[in-house]
Structures are given as structure tokens and as C-alpha cells.
């Protein structure tokens, strides 16, 4: 079997098959929004905490 045909056969694995969805509703991502806001606040609070330590010292 040639290299090309071996590759072709091997690449037949189907990856990321997609479903045929007709509708286009916007998903409800309120929880996602709240969660990423939490991460943002966590980063800011941590940063300010160590900055305060820097200023204090």
C-alpha cells in the first residue's frame, strides 16, 4: 500500500461530526456570564491583595 493511500484510509476517521440542526436559537448563557464575572472579580481581588502587601511593605 502506498504512503498516500495508507494515509487516506487512516484519515477516514470521522471527527467532529455535526448534527444537522435547522433552528438557530440563542442559548441561555446567564450562568456562564455570572461565572466569568466571578473569575474576573477573583483575579482583580487577588491582584489588589498582593499589591496592597507591596505598598504596605
Amino acid at each position: 500500500m502506498s504512503k498516500q493511500s495508507a494515509l487516506k484510509q487512516s484519515s477516514a476517521h470521522d471527527v467532529h461530526e455535526v448534527e444537522d440542526i435547522e433552528t438557530h436559537e440563542e442559548p441561555n448563557l446567564k450562568g456562564t456570564f455570572a461565572a466569568v464575572m466571578f473569575i474576573g472579580v477573583f483575579i482583580v481581588v487577588s491582584w489588589i491583595g498582593v499589591y496592597a502587601l507591596y505598598m504596605y511593605r
Partner: protein, 550 residues
């Protein structure tokens, strides 16, 4: 027979890498346990073994050997699954494996003989045996072979399907290997042109700042080389395990492209206290470091969106009730999920480390050690463990049993508890000024050092729990490899949520993205590097004592 199973010859290549990775986990983990004992002040190493010897084994074996072998093996599996692997690729993959392993054995032997107690950063002027550096060079060359195999796998696939969007898994692997190849050019340069001639006595002195700058040109992208395979799993595999979908193909590709652009020209944020580098260029690289946080934030959004959509599809309502819809009793999900959670404090800590003034608070303290035990030893490792529960049986033609899944859940919690105690105490100690890279000392009975004692003991308690976690994981690995029933374990590959989403084809323009990455690297490094070379102090002779080779 399971549809689309990875062919046996390709499975063997991936598994060969996994055996090395899990043996490294056991050896390196034991060294970590011993370190925490020494730092507690209650234990002395037997047989004249030095603290810096075990510290070097721990760093090299876990930070380089375990990670690199697991990543290359996992990436071969992803490439086999998505674009295929030819006979020629397989032949070269074995050659690359042997070269990488030969380099590993050479460097590891030198460390075990006490001839390379230079830690995994091998800062000059600490000088190791020449074979240590030659081993490192071989290791890097071996990984380059893996890079070019992966590049060629996608190239061959594209040649057969011109105009087609490349599979997401293959796209991500190629980005990670590009980051690895471009960044290892730095460490290969310093090893080949500085350390090897210097350790062989061909030159008397080494330019310390040039060597450290070339090391960190590699050292930070290395962190992303560890992290991106975890992200590959989060984007392309975890949604399938939770019964959900990939939120967006375009967003995933954009995040990876941003990593290619911004993960490399940022090494100066490890050198903020380094004299000899113009503060302006440190400032530029700090800004670029903050840019590299963006793709991680995109990833956090994408993960939450996948989870929320999956939970809501199962009928869970409310702001956060969809969390209940996640498969908490499936270790293939739980372990990577805790890894994701750990990246919240891990990422926040990274932004603190990269901020100039804040870096002054934590620089060279054990806070930094606590930080990377959250990022690489929790986020990355728990994801790799989570992958192993299905990948190893898939490659070996076996299945994950409910009993082993349960043991995996226990392992995950053991790891989480141990790491919370150990990394948490390291963070606090660091803020109290305790140094990293040092054995136990009372520092002449200083009052400040007294404050660290309780946390150092907590560190040993956490380390002991973690070692139990390592023993469990190594047992699970060998059980999955040889002891579970024969069968077909699914290789989970997620589908897209929106089939009509059109990913911009410009994302596939490799010349463009590699070109921009090169421009950013040249912009961030050219002027300061010329400045470093032109204004360097005299070079340093090698120091083999007290910890280089003794």
C-alpha cells in the same frame, strides 16, 4: 470492533510514550516527597544524597520528561484520530522516541550520579557534566522529530482535501508543536553554543545573562506547551463526555492562534529583577504577557458555555442549577474539571507574578513553586490523569471498569486535598518571604524564618498525601494497561453546537500567523538582546561547588 479505533501500530507508539511518562511520575513524585520532608526540618537525606540532587531529579523528571512524553504520546493519538498517520510517519515517530529517550537517559544518569545538581533551570554559572547538556540537546532534537511528523501529518491531509477546514484536534496539535519548536530554538542555542563548549573546557567563561535570557525565551512558552494539550482535551473531548457540544470552533481556533502569537515573546517577566535588561523592554514583555491571558479567559468562557448548554439541555434551570447536570461520578470529567477550577487561582497567580511591583513581593519565594504546582501539577496533571482513564484502555484494547472509575474518583480527591494543602502553604509561606530552591534552614534563628515552620510541616503533610495519589495513579495506569477486561473503550470526540458556524479560513493561513509570531518575537527581543551582548559584564567561569557537581 469499535468504529474508528486507533490502529494498533499507532497505539503502540502512543503507549511507548505513556510508559515513560508514568514511570517518570513515580520517580519524580518520590523525589518531591523527600524534598517536602527535608524542608520540614524533621528529616535528613540518607547515604549522602544532596537536597539539590533530588530537587534536580524532581524538576527534570516531572517538568520535562513526564510532561513531554505524555504530551507527544497524546498528540500522536489525536493526530491518528483526526488526520491519520502513514507508515513513514510511524517510522520517524519511533526514531524520535528513541532519540528523546536516549537524551533523557543520558541526562538522568548524570543527575543520579550527582554530576548535574543544577536544577531544571540549569542556570549558569552552575556547571554540570558535559553529558548532561548533551543529553538535553538530544532530548530536544528528538522532540523536533515529533514536531515535523505532526506538521507533515496535517500537510498530507490538507493535500488530499484542499480547501477543507483542518480538523480541530490536528489544528491544535500543530499550534502546540509550533510553539514548542520556535521556543526550543532558544534553549538549544544556549546549550549548543554556550553550555556544551563551556562544560567541555573549550571556553573558560559563559555570558550568564545571555544564557538566562535564552532559557526564559524557552521557559515561558514551555508552560503553554504543557497547558495547551489540557486545553485540547477541554475543547474537543470534555464536551462529549458531559453529553454536550463544542461551543464554537472559531473561538477555539482563535484562542490557540493567540497562544501562538503571545506565549513566546514574554520571557522577560521571569527576569524582572534581572539587572542588565532595559526596563522598557521588560515593560513591553509584561504587556505581551497580559495579552496571553486573553485566550485563557476565552477558554474559561467556552468551557462554562459548554457546561451550561449541556446542563440546560438536560432540563436543569436557574442561574447555576445546570451544574447538577454534569457527570460528577465520571472520573473522565471530574479530574479535568478540578484541573479547570485550579486554573482560576493558578491564572490569577500568574498575572501577579508577571506584574513588576507584585513580582518584587513574590520573586524567588516559594509562592512561585506553589503557583506552578497549581498550574502544571494540578490543572495539567489532573487533565492528563482524566485523559488516561479512557485513552490508555482505548490504546490497549481494554475497558475502564466501574471499580477503577471509583478508584479514579478517590485518586482525584486525594490529589486535590494534598495539593490544596501543599500549594496553599507554599503560597502563604512565599508571601511571608520563604525562599524557593533552598533546603531547610533556621537562617541563624531569625524571627522571620520561625514564621515559616508550621507551613513547612503542612507542606510535608500535603506532599505525603500527594504521594499516596501518585501511587494510586501509577497503579491505575498499569491496571488500565494490563489488568482490565479486553474490550472497546470509546475515544470521545465532541460535536459542534452550531453546524452553521463558519470559521474564517484566514485561521488556516499558517504563513500569516507564523509570520506575525516571528515579528512579535523579533520586536520583543532584538534590541534588548543586542544591548545585553554589547554591554555584558565579563563572563563567568564555571562553579561546580557547592551544588554543580558535588
Amino acid at each position: 470492533m469499535l468504529k474508528n479505533k486507533i490502529p494498533k501500530p499507532e497505539s503502540k507508539i502512543a503507549m511507548a510514550h505513556m510508559y515513560v511518562a508514568f514511570i517518570a511520575l513515580l520517580v519524580g513524585g518520590l523525589m518531591g516527597l523527600l524534598q517536602t520532608f527535608v524542608r520540614s526540618g524533621e528529616f535528613t537525606l540518607p547515604f549522602g544524597i544532596g537536597y539539590y540532587q533530588i530537587l534536580t531529579v524532581h524538576g527534570v523528571v516531572l517538568g520535562l520528561v513526564l510532561t513531554t512524553f505524555f504530551i507527544i504520546g497524546f498528540q500522536y493519538a489525536l493526530m491518528s484520530k483526526s488526520v491519520g498517520m502513514s507508515k513513514g510517519h510511524r517510522k520517524w515517530a519511533w526514531i524520535g522516541y528513541i532519540v528523546t529517550l536516549a537524551g533523557t537517559i543520558m541526562a538522568a544518569t548524570m543527575i543520579l550520579l550527582g554530576e548535574a545538581n543544577v536544577l531544571y533551570t540549569f542556570y549558569a554559572p552552575l556547571q554540570a557534566h558535559p553529558l548532561y547538556y548533551i543529553g538535553l540537546a538530544l532530548f530536544v532534537v528528538g522532540t523536533w522529530i515529533a514536531c515535523f511528523i505532526n506538521f507533515n501529518q496535517l500537510y498530507q491531509w490538507k493535500k488530499q482535501d484542499p480547501g477543507e477546514k483542518s480538523p480541530l484536534m490536528a489544528f491544535m496539535v500543530v499550534i502546540n508543536m509550533l510553539i514548542w519548536f520556535i521556543s526550543t530554538l532558544g534553549v538549544a542555542s544556549t546549550v549548543l553554543f554556550q553550555f556544551i563548549p563551556w562544560s567541555l573546557g573549550m571556553v573558560d567563561e559563559i555570558n550568564v545573562l545571555v544564557s538566562r535570557t535564552l532559557f526564559w525565551y524557552f521557559g515561558h512558552p514551555l508552560v503553554y506547551f504543557w497547558l495547551l494539550p489540557a486545553y485540547m482535551a477541554w475543547y474537543t473531548i470534555i464536551p462529549k463526555i458531559i453529553g454536550g457540544k463544542i461551543f464554537s470552533d472559531g473561538l477555539a481556533r482563535l484562542a490557540f492562534l493567540l497562544f501562538l502569537l503571545f506565549s513566546i515573546p514574554v520571557g522577560f517577566h521571569h527576569q524582572l529583577t534581572e539587572p542588565g535588561i532595559d526596563p522598557f523592554w521588560k515593560y513591553i514583555q509584561v504587556i505581551l504577557t497580559f495579552m496571553v491571558a486573553i485566550p485563557s479567559l476565552l477558554t474559561a468562557f467556552s468551557m462554562f458555555a459548554s457546561f451550561e448548554m449541556a446542563g440546560r439541555a438536560k432540563g436543569h434551570k436557574g442561574l447555576f442549577k445546570w451544574f447538577k447536570g454534569l457527570p460528577w461520578k465520571d472520573v473522565r470529567f471530574l479530574a479535568p474539571f478540578i484541573g479547570m477550577v485550579a486554573f482560576i487561582p493558578g491564572g490569577a497567580g500568574g498575572l501577579i507574578n508577571a506584574s513588576n511591583q507584585l513580582n518584587g513581593v513574590i520573586h524567588n519565594t516559594i509562592w512561585v513553586t506553589g503557583h506552578f504546582h497549581l498550574t502544571v501539577a494540578t490543572t495539567v496533571m489532573l487533565t492528563f490523569f482524566g485523559l488516561s482513564y479512557w485513552l490508555i484502555p482505548h490504546l490497549k484494547g481494554r475497558t475502564l471498569t466501574p471499580k477503577l472509575n471509583k478508584l479514579g474518583l478517590i485518586q482525584t480527591w486525594v490529589w486535590t486535598i494534598g495539593m490544596s494543602i501543599m500549594s496553599g502553604s507554599m503560597h502563604i509561606q512565599g508571601l511571608l518571604g520563604a525562599p524557593r530552591r533552598s533546603a531547610f534552614s533556621t537562617y541563624g534563628g531569625s524571627e522571620q524564618a520561625q514564621e515559616w515552620v508550621g507551613y513547612q510541616i503542612a507542606q510535608a503533610v500535603g506532599g505525603s498525601i500527594l504521594f499516596i495519589g501518585i501511587i494510586l495513579m501509577v497503579y491505575i495506569f498499569f491496571k488500565l494497561s494490563f489488568g482490565t477486561p479486553k474490550g472497546d473503550q470509546e475515544f470521545p470526540v465532541a460535536e459542534y453546537a452550531d453546524v452553521n458556524e463558519r470559521t474564517p479560513m484566514v485561521f488556516e493561513n499558517w504563513k500569516l500567523w507564523i509570520g506575525i509570531a516571528a515579528v512579535l518575537i523579533l520586536f520583543a527581543y532584538t534590541i534588548p538582546f543586542i544591548d545585553i551582548i554589547q554591554n555584558s559584564p565579563p563572563g563567568s567561569p564555571g562553579f561546580q561547588f557547592p551544588i554543580g557537581r558535588g
